[in-house]
């Protein structure tokens, strides 16, 4: 197996977990990439908000996405912005197949920086830290 690029940096800034985003940041405990979804029109919602931006429905439910995605774009970061999060590492925007434009900024892991490609199929993996499961993405060999 090749060396992971961003597999467990010494330090990550963690998100502030609230009642509004807990489903997203803790879904990894159950291996699930979770979003809010409108129970009326089935629109996926990200980041979390209390109203469906498509139909203005106010009844939303947490639902797991497949965890699969494609790399919409990526960058190899070489600058040390955060002590303990040492470069180089891959930052990507991935788009989920569940809905056009449903995207996450994330890290590509288990992928050499030279091997990252736009449109590459990837799948979610979670990195736990304290009370948070960070969704990262690795190449999806099965896709």
């Amino acid at each position: 197996m090749r060396a992971a690029v961003a597999n467990r940096p010494d330090f990550r800034v963690l998100p502030l977990v609230t009642d509004h985003n807990r489903h997203f940041w803790t879904g990894g405990e159950h291996g699930e990439l979770r979003f809010l979804r409108c129970t009326v029109c089935r629109h996926w919602i990200h980041p979390p908000q209390p109203i469906c931006p498509a139909c203005l429905g106010r009844t939303l439910a947490v639902e797991a996405a497949s965890g699969r995605a494609r790399v919409a774009t990526f960058t190899v970061n070489h600058q040390r912005w955060i002590p303990g999060f040492e470069p180089p590492y891959l930052v990507a925007i991935v788009e989920l197949p569940e809905q056009p434009g449903l995207r996450l900024t994330t890290n590509l892991v288990n992928c050499d920086v030279e091997d990252a490609r736009i449109d590459m199929p990837v799948r979610v993996v979670f990195e736990q830290r304290d009370d948070v499961w960070i969704p990262l993405f690795e190449p999806d060999g099965a896709a």
Partner: protein, 397 residues
């Protein structure tokens, strides 16, 4: 009533440089008093104030004195004032002032922007946004937009915009050599601007040899933090007619943002808010891109100037790479002189206001060694990246 009821009547700028060690209040006063004098006005004529992003906002060094502070120091009697970060880019504050004078709320609005990021950063490197220089075990937790970026080490607009540049390269075949032309052009022009901070000649080899920040951006794709304050006086067009200098009429503005106001959820990952602001500008005037004599377009990162070229219709969508290739078209003596002062890449990160200042310098033919030839009458100034974008078209009668 429209933006044509407004004009720029004066400009001012403090000293600009790396680690000046000056009080940002002093820098602001230098710029403000210079702009008022440049317009041929007295402080008693100033009845409006506008600023971005509001007083002492954001990380240390990102902004200077508040509107109430400046009002009180100069004992101004104000009919109208506004300041804050929620605006269509850094020039949104100027565009607010344009609306205010066109509407008759005020006659002469002093608009200003102060940065002292270089002194604030001292000898250290440029910190990530929202990290407050912290790290390892500080207990800090990210919220708001940083919640979705900081956990992934995407702690700078360099990373966020690099993602767009990469997608642009993927879709349109844009190259690093083309991106480089924005930086090389800026450096060439900075060599003719005594106030620019980086004036030494730069070659394509220098550019390609520079260390990478976040691919495809190398060091020279990223602007340079400086200390400095810039001010402009926005006047009612009728009140600006008989002042010290020929008025620079506001022909059109662009402020639109039609996609999601987000760095990673915007509908098109090859452009940003400037797409909508640029389109709006041309909907508000009969002038066309070919009428523009000089373009001062935000280059906080090189790719943003490319995006503005496309957004403002100087070339087609995706065609900014070939447009700037070789650098002759955007040179001082080219068909569209771009960032004639050196931009933020080489003249320094005055954060949006520097472009408006330079557009006025050129229209008043005060550019000295960097003055474009002929008799430039139409200039565009644009600022912002990501969900921030605002632009102005100025005309000297």
């Amino acid at each position: 009533m429209s933006e044509r009821g407004a004009a720029i009547s004066g400009i001012g700028q403090s000293a600009v440089g790396r680690r000046l060690g000056r009080d940002p209040v002093d820098l602001t006063l230098d710029a403000a008093l210079a702009a008022i004098a440049d317009a041929g006005l007295d402080r008693r004529d100033i009845d409006g104030l506008a600023s971005y992003p509001g007083g002492w906002f954001g990380p240390r060094g990102f902004s200077g004195p508040s509107i109430p502070e400046l009002q009180d120091m100069l004992r101004l009697d104000l009919s109208w004032f506004a300041g804050g970060p929620e605006a269509p880019g850094q020039l949104g504050s100027v565009i607010d002032a344009i609306a205010a004078v066109a509407c008759g709320y005020a006659n002469h609005v002093l608009c200003y922007r102060t940065v002292w990021e270089s002194t604030a950063q001292g000898g250290g490197g440029r910190p990530g946004i929202g990290t407050a220089g912290g790290g390892g075990g500080s207990g800090f937790r990210a919220s708001s937009i940083m919640e979705w970026t900081l956990p992934f080490g995407a702690a700078s607009a360099a990373v966020w915009i690099a993602l767009f540049a990469k997608r642009h390269m993927h879709e349109y075949g844009t190259t690093r050599e083309q991106l480089a032309q924005i930086a090389l052009n800026a450096r060439r022009n900075a060599g003719r601007n005594p106030k620019a901070v980086y004036r030494d000649p730069m070659t394509l080899d220098d550019y390609l040899a520079a260390r990478m920040i976040s691919t495809p951006f190398c060091l020279y794709d990223c602007d340079v933090p400086v200390d400095g304050a810039t001010a402009v006086v926005v006047s009612r067009a009728d009140r600006a007619r008989d002042l010290r200098k020929p008025r620079l009429r506001v022909e059109a503005v662009g402020t639109a943002l039609r996609g999601r106001p987000s760095w990673d959820q915007f509908d098109d990952l090859t452009t940003m808010a400037m797409r909508d602001a640029g389109a709006m500008l041309w909907q508000r005037t009969d002038l066309r891109p070919r009428d523009v004599d000089v373009a001062e377009l935000y280059d906080g990162f090189s790719f943003l100037a490319m995006s503005w070229l496309e957004a403002l219709g100087f070339c087609g969508k995706g065609e900014s790479g070939p447009f700037v290739a070789g650098g002759t078209r955007i040179a001082l003596d080219g068909e569209l002189p771009l960032n004639t002062h050196g931009g933020q890449l080489s003249a320094g990160r005055l954060h949006g206001y520097g472009f408006l200042h330079e557009a006025c310098v050129q229209l008043w033919r005060e550019g000295g060694d960097r003055q474009v030839a002929g008799d430039p009458k139409v200039a565009v100034a644009a600022a912002g990246g990501g969900p921030l974008g605002g632009c102005l078209l100025l005309v000297r009668d």
